[in-house]
């Protein structure tokens, strides 16, 4: 850190202290830690920070960063020596950041937590690099099937039951779609890599397939499970059950179900909170994402909490995390749509929550998070082999060739990266 940076930090801290003294008459020793979090995640983190600040002398200042530019902004800030103390980082990016040596290792402290064994395994697996832990489970979400109960009822379907296999899925979509010209049976963001890895892969996992080997070294797209899932979507398109805009939606309409004219859509647990608070008139149900002949799975997503190496507030960050892991913190986060990161108290905390959130929380043990240090390259980017493959397989003329080509390209990128 350069000297001028140190000065500016000192000045900043003095000013913060002065402000804190003026406002709260707190002691001059109070620290302030900066935490970046990506936008579009609802109110979970702001609410948690607010509760922490009200009950603690030391303060956390949260800064929202538009999620698309989060990686760029954090990486640039690291390069310039001006990074925040901590970041709530989309968990899929933790392998890349952990491998870079820019994060504070948290292994010993993490393992000393009495509830360490019950923390989300999916989060920790992507945060572990060469035996050390560089990120801690923070927010948690899963993908679930949501359906519009009103539309189901109108279509003569049981409004309390979602699809449990592909045949039901197709049939329900078709019957809802028949309700009218401006109503569609099913919706998905067909040109959005992040959305489809979140919403589509659970179908494959639920049918006991995988898209990557556990260590991320092998792409396994060309499987019967992939073909079955693609076939379901092709059939629904042939039936006319999928909205026309799905094909080119690069994520801008990911929350289409809120318009009240979509029968079914796969959404995230965090979305449930958004839908219930912002669209109270939308009457929807939630169930796990089914496999071809039953079974279910989910994508475990959310944020890992990472601390920048060299931060002056590592202890404060740990205190904040312990607050987040406390029953009080976990309950508060659940209220705003983030599922408990601690499985030991999950059931107790979820007991008072919306029943739909309970469904989402219960899927966590069945879920997966793919591990890859080139996740962005092979899957998450808008031009990745994953989304090119999926789009061509679902909407193109030759799904078999598209899937085979996708697997080849994905493997090529993996081999190139290592």
């Amino acid at each position: 850190m350069t000297r001028s940076n140190t000065y500016s930090k000192i000045v900043a801290r003095l000013m913060t202290c002065a402000g804190a003294m003026a406002l709260l008459a707190g002691p001059a020793s109070a620290e302030t830690m900066t935490l970046w979090s990506r936008s579009g995640q609802g109110e979970t983190i702001p609410a948690l920070v607010k509760a922490f600040n009200e009950s603690h002398e030391d303060q956390v200042q949260v800064v929202q960063v538009p999620f698309q530019e989060m990686v760029q902004k954090y990486a640039t800030a690291l390069a310039g020596g001006e990074a925040p103390d901590a970041v709530a980082l989309d968990l899929i990016y933790t392998p890349s950041f952990a491998a870079s040596g820019q994060l504070e290792p948290l292994t010993d402290w993490a393992k000393s937590l009495s509830y360490f064994d019950s923390l989300s395994k999916a989060h920790l697996s992507v945060a572990t690099y060469q035996g050390d832990i560089y990120g801690m489970p923070f927010t948690t979400e899963t993908s679930v099937m949501a359906w519009n109960k009103d539309l189901f009822e109108k279509a003569g379907l049981d409004p309390e039951k979602g699809p449990t296999n592909y045949a039901e899925w197709r049939d329900m979509a078709k019957r809802v779609d028949a309700l009218g010209d401006d109503i569609d049976g099913f919706y998905f963001s067909g040109n959005c890599a992040g959305c489809t890895i979140f919403s589509f892969t659970p179908m494959i996992w639920a049918s006991n397939g995988r898209i990557l080997s556990d260590d991320g070294s092998k792409a396994t797209l060309d499987t019967p499970q992939m073909h079955d899932a693609v076939d379901l979507f092709r059939n629904m398109i042939a039936d006319g059950s999928i909205a026309a805009s799905a094909r080119t939606d690069n994520g801008t309409n990911f929350l289409s179900i809120q318009n009240g004219r979509i029968g079914m859509q796969v959404v995230g647990a965090a979305t449930i909170g958004v839908l219930t608070t912002q669209h109270p008139d939308l009457n929807f149900g939630v169930a796990p994402i089914p496999g071809k002949d039953g079974g279910s799975s989910t994508f475990v997503g959310g944020d890992n909490f990472v601390i920048t190496k060299g931060s002056d507030h590592v202890d404060l960050a740990k205190t904040f995390l312990e607050f987040a892991y406390s029953p009080e913190g976990q309950t508060l986060m659940a209220k705003y749509g983030s599922l408990p990161a601690r499985s030991d108290i999950s059931a107790k905390i979820m007991a008072d929550q919306d029943s739909r959130l309970q469904v989402a929380a219960a899927t966590v043990p069945t879920g997966h998070t793919p591990y890859s240090v080139v996740f962005n390259d092979i899957i998450n980017s808008a031009n990745s082999p994953w989304i090119q493959m999926l789009s061509a397989a679902i909407y193109g003329d030759d799904p078999d060739a598209a899937i085979a080509e996708g697997e080849r390209q994905m493997q090529e990128t993996i081999d190139f990266g290592s």
């Binding site: 929202q64 800030a77 992040g194 994520g251």
Partner: protein, 282 residues
């Protein structure tokens, strides 16, 4: 048909065509502004008609205002950055345009191309070095740092514009003034400045627009929540899960951002009124 009738007819015809084109240019914006007042589930329906049919709602604007430090604070930041960029761009390009137009010095053309080259790098790729540089200068996370970067990015256009404007002023005017013994600075500010006002107005307008609307540099360089500019705020509000867009926030954001730009344009466009230059030249 008399010549006068023919002239009137052609005028009417061309005005009609102009109006049709205007309608095409105006339509997307009109649709946006009207749609920004739709609320609830109506916001997701086909905008035919675009105006709210289930009651006017200002929810989208309230969402904008609820984010960050409020819309006024962020507008003030943007206003400061844009205003400073205008002042600095106009001063620097007025000098440089005059220098390039009226003086000959070694490497003149090379330096001119060098300045023009600023236009030609993808901004994305110098962002990381620029950030490191600003951090070293202690200007990162300051609005002044942003102003300096915006002004630099604005220079090629501004200097080209001002050079053209000075070139268009006949040299006889300077000669005459020189005979009367004016100094170089008096020449620039008293004699020439009024003659290049259309150029200055153009430079000012575009400096304002670009600084007011710029998003990426503002996002990367600023970290304090109370320093963020308006485009960053709007990007935060509109973005949902996986890039899903809050259309109401976009519509309201575009509307809110457009108003100051229009005011600036309307205020400065009087400098385009023909005759200002032509009259002086004659």
């Amino acid at each position: 048909m008399t010549a006068a009738t023919a002239k009137r007819l052609s005028l009417a015809l061309s005005t009609l065509v102009g109006l049709l084109v205007a309608a095409a240019f105006l339509a997307p914006i009109l649709w946006t502004i009207l749609s920004s007042f739709r609320g609830g589930s109506e916001a997701f329906q086909v905008p035919l008609p675009p105006w709210p049919t289930q009651g006017v709602s200002v929810d989208s604007y309230l969402r904008l205002d609820a984010a960050g430090e409020g819309i006024l604070r962020h507008s003030a930041n943007s206003g400061f950055v844009a205003g400073m960029t205008v002042v600095l761009s106009v001063i620097v390009s007025l000098f440089a345009g005059y220098g390039f137009s009226r003086f000959r010095f070694p490497m003149r053309n090379v330096l001119f191309v060098l300045i023009m080259a600023t236009l030609m790098i993808p901004f994305q790729s110098i962002l990381t070095p620029l950030f490191i540089l600003l951090a070293k200068l202690g200007l990162q996370n300051t609005l002044i740092g942003l102003v300096l970067v915006y002004t630099t990015l604005q220079l090629p256009f501004s200097i080209f514009m001002m050079r053209n404007a000075f070139d268009a002023v006949p040299k006889e005017i300077e000669e005459a003034a020189r005979m009367e013994g004016v100094t170089t600075f008096q020449m620039l500010f008293r004699v020439l400045l009024p003659l290049v006002m259309p150029g200055v107005a153009t430079v000012a307008i575009f400096a304002f627009l670009n600084a007011w609307n710029e998003f990426l540099a503002a996002l990367i360089f600023l970290s304090d929540p109370d320093k963020l500019t308006l485009p960053v705020l709007i990007a935060q509000v509109r973005a949902g899960r996986f890039g899903s867009v809050d259309w109401g926030a976009v519509q309201a954001g575009v509307t809110a951002m457009m108003i100051p730009c229009l005011i600036v344009f309307l205020a400065l466009q009087r400098f385009y009124i023909r005759g200002l230059t032509a009259g002086a030249v004659k």
